[in-house]
Symmetry: D2
Subunit: 351 residues, 4 copies
């Protein structure tokens, strides 16, 4: 029924994140993609840029330039998958036009003062930072429901915060220093052709990158503080491994006295009971990015190592879905009053 349809625009639709939003919305009962815009490939059909979308009606849409006022007039809600530093120049005009915005970039996730050091730019719209809700639906779904602008979390922060926050809040992990070791496939780096993510350079490669200054560091810290009320200091070291989709984070946190693996596991299980997309593994089982591929699922596990006073918390997601487009759709669902699970896949495409 037309009156139930929410019209949607996707910015950055020529990239992997934007393409994934369009693909996932093909099965959605309420959202209808009417506008696809990007800085690259303007004037081409969407299906020419994403041939796997050829079978979809939206594959025939033409990529247009990112003209925020014009787009605001035509759609109810925008997913912005533009690069970091670009979303924040576009969102204000959309919001001013009454369009809801879900941002997949990092532009609305931090306080203004953090942007110069962690992202390398002065924030162009600091007033909107106070309006933005950090959209981790399983933790902050209530706040999202009434918002206009959602900062959808990054791929690494998603499993890190979901795994650590309940343990911090329950006092099973002590505030202090948490080291987070990340592993990711190449799709998180985006679609632009660069030698370091060519097949020849990546196959057989395992390598850290952009540490200790990766911009997801303060995002994890802030998300943990929001969710748990505890201040933790985070060191984050990401690594590239030879796969396309898939993120695993392994966090090393201070274990509270007397806490064992069962207590950690029970806390996580209780925190996410009934959540469709969170799979807390029984003690002794290990997360695997492969079991999340193609789905909006996050796998979580935790174990205690009393020898070293460490709680180890591991989480896995498909970085393009739960770590980007899928989570953005959860947030959009909440913005328009739908259950956050609406239209999203809960099973991986395996093997």
């Amino acid at each position: 029924m037309e009156s139930d349809t929410i019209t949607v625009g996707v910015l950055g639709a020529s990239g992997y994140g934007g393409g994934e939003v369009v693909r996932l919305l093909a099965d959605h009962p309420s959202f209808d993609v009417r506008v696809v815009a990007a800085h690259a490939s303007v004037g081409q059909a969407l299906a020419a840029v994403h041939p796997h979308l050829a079978g979809l009606p939206q594959g025939g849409l033409t990529l247009e330039a990112v003209d925020a006022p014009s787009i605001a007039e035509r759609v109810d809600l925008v997913f912005s998958a533009l690069p970091n530093g670009t979303s924040s120049t576009v969102a204000p005009a959309l919001l001013a036009g009454g369009t809801l915005v879900v941002d997949l970039a990092g532009d609305f996730r931090l306080p203004a003062e953090d942007y110069p050091s962690w992202y390398g730019f002065e924030h162009p719209a600091p007033a909107w930072l106070d309006e933005a809700v950090y959209g981790l639906p399983e933790l902050f779904g209530g706040a999202v429901a009434g918002a206009k602008l959602v900062a959808s979390p990054g791929c690494f922060p998603t499993p890190a915060i979901l795994g650590l926050a309940p343990l911090l809040a329950a006092g099973l992990v002590e505030p202090g220093t948490i080291r987070v070791d990340g592993k990711t496939g190449t799709s998180g780096a985006g679609r632009a052709a660069v030698e370091s993510t060519s097949f020849a350079a990546t196959d057989g490669s395992i390598r850290p990158y952009r540490a200790p200054g990766h911009q997801h560091t303060p995002e994890i810290e802030r998300g943990l503080a929001l969710a748990s009320g505890q201040e933790a200091t985070v060191l984050f070291v990401p690594h590239l491994v030879p796969t396309v989709r898939g993120v695993v984070v392994t966090a090393y946190a201070p274990l509270a006295a007397g806490v064992d693996t069962e207590a950690l596991t029970a806390c996580l299980a209780a925190a996410y009971e009934g959540q469709t997309f969170v799979r807390v593994l029984p003690s002794g089982e290990m997360v695997d990015a492969k079991r999340t591929r193609g789905s909006n699922v996050v796998e979580l596990q935790a174990f205690a190592d009393p020898r070293t006073g460490t709680a180890v918390v591991a989480g896995a997601v498909d970085n393009l879905i739960k770590g980007a487009a899928g989570q953005a759709i959860q947030n959009a669902n909440l913005l328009v009053g739908l259950p956050h699970e609406t239209g999203l896949p809960a099973m991986a495409v395996a093997p």
Copy 2:
């Protein structure tokens, strides 16, 4: 000249580690493989089990059963690439016969009391543990030179100890708790066909395994104590990633006050100056397993994160060469009075 030739036996020659010893020795000026033995494939030609060795004269050798007294009579030196728990049942008879032994398994790396808990067996030859030298040539080469039995280090401990030991010894890293996050390809799991390392199960997979009880944990602790005189407690969490060869370890250690990245890097550079196989990267550059593949090289880097009081030390090796067969050959070179570099590749096969 025959009088300069050292005759060699390779036990476990049907597996990846044993096969790699034979392959690498093809270019060696002094070692001559005369005996290949294994528990599997007995009676087959070596080249039938390792078709890539068909071009080598040793490809025509027949795999024989592991009869230690008989082998001791026929060769000067044995590389044992038998599984954990098996080498220690075979080595005594070889040593009693006067044959030098380099063990690639974990059977001679720990004190006797550690075997039940970390390896799951009572050590069958504890008296030999005192004779065994831990063979990390760049740190303990002098001790190897006069030995009869060498415990060649494991794939993860090799880069972990090489990277951390000089920093601990110099006081740039404080003794305390060190978390070591490992990433490895599948070849470290050996050649036996199991579903978890099938192509279908591994492609697209990123997953932790066997933590916190992995047997390389006490080996790293002991190696660090031996090399630095400092006691550190280690938590080790390995992960499988989709590649065949390649190990990266990322260690998170307590940073001493006032120490910066340049100091860490300078310490490592000084410690390994002139070492053919150790490549200490300049500040800001990141290790990559791909740049070690096919070579006996270890890449090392370190950086300081004062925000969290952490020294991050990363190291990369080809787990079958510097992490196994190549390092065993370094040790064998030292046992017979040759320079440890003899006959070993210092350049990766890249891309």
Copy 3:
């Protein structure tokens, strides 16, 4: 509504093909999986064997032994993903009980006399071969609609027949000898752990196998004859390449005089106009298995090489979906009177 529900059993549910049937049916409006049976893992929960299905109600079903009479009493329709040679021992009892059967194995695709030479067994139920309909829905959908037993085609024959049949029928390709060169990932070999499909053996490998006697050879010949009325003799040479899902076939056929690329392309486009799952590429574009992954799509292209009198026809599918489980569901849809597209994905999960 219960009265609209078709109850379903999946045999061979512990393997890749059976697991994929269950996964795809999760989104199906009419089929309800009630029974999962297998020869392996009997007594385990389905989600223990396929952890990615944990979120599905059917994940809680227990794998039971394959007891055909009992299963026939409980379900309306069975997908049999049992191994070649096993389906034909089970299907008769199911059919006798009034249950519809869609067979994913090769047991009902050939005349009885072909089984000893191509499959290595005497067919146990030759009378049923006459009842079986070869279920390539885009070509033989009408015949499927009234059947009880469907032989769902193999992964290689699917794109080969779809690509060649219209050209043969139109006389653009002459009957004669057609060479079909196939490339496939490892999932087509099934789930059993064998060394030749381990990650270490497969990564970096490109290799032909089981030629010239592969059992898909006579299936392609028969499918072409059925669809085109023309007799062609086929040589089929499959190759393994390092991927999990994905099949590409490249067929080299005799080009009729005066035929050019445009004529070949136009013929294919006309043959499949309006077909949801068949994507005929414009002249000059090349198929890619990646663009079919996770979907029921087949990509087809054709070009003429007058220099050598050859028509080259290439096709790509996801071997577990259009080459197995997805096509089986198309057939089941037709058996129960639904449009063949019902409940199946038309877009790849890319990148």
Copy 4:
């Protein structure tokens, strides 16, 4: 001994082929790389562009611009790994200066009249085409020995010609039309970053490309004519598969009457008896690119399919070694009077 040293320049040293020449020459007893030149990265140290060469003295050489007269004065022999169409603009000045030239590009492999249609350029130095020797050492080694300019064969033609030529010459395969289906990894496409060979685009991809006009088509035809005296017309269809190194060609040729698999195999075995780098597989065994990786080996197999009158000949090489740099070194060895095998690896780095 200095008087035995042949001084060498490598053009195109910033790319994969040029880098591989430098790497392989590190173990060569006579060739000493003194000059590295390229169009890209001029002014950088070679080890900055190829970090895996850091351990080599030549890693310290500075990449210089391609100034042929200057280079001719400084070195005895040049390997040119410049792009197609560039080598032929540089080689004349080198040759005029008395420098021997081994060209890894396609610039001297065809008659002048073939360049516009197959390579897209008018040949700038047609006079030199008559001087150039096609350097497939196992077939034309005698002609190479006295030459000044060698056209080193392409990666696909190498196994195709080696596999087919003896069978054509012996009459086991009839002249006529041969279809050659090629499969290759990405390194053959060179080092430039393009989206189609990014990891995200290549992992999971199987796809034909540049057919039927690939420039290796006339090279195979000409090589077969030179080696066998028989004229065959070739259709060549290459495919990209997800690996870095490795080429397999599968050729479908007209089988002479009465010829069986054993006759084909025996013919190949006899043709290459005693050849270090050619491994003819026994009847029934299949080639594998993995068993050639890191080596200069070519694997060959052949079988007869009397049903379709086809001889199938398959060959596998490491495209960067036997298909490029290794074969170029074989040719250089012959140019200076050394055995062609000198300094080259005969064993793959496996697994």
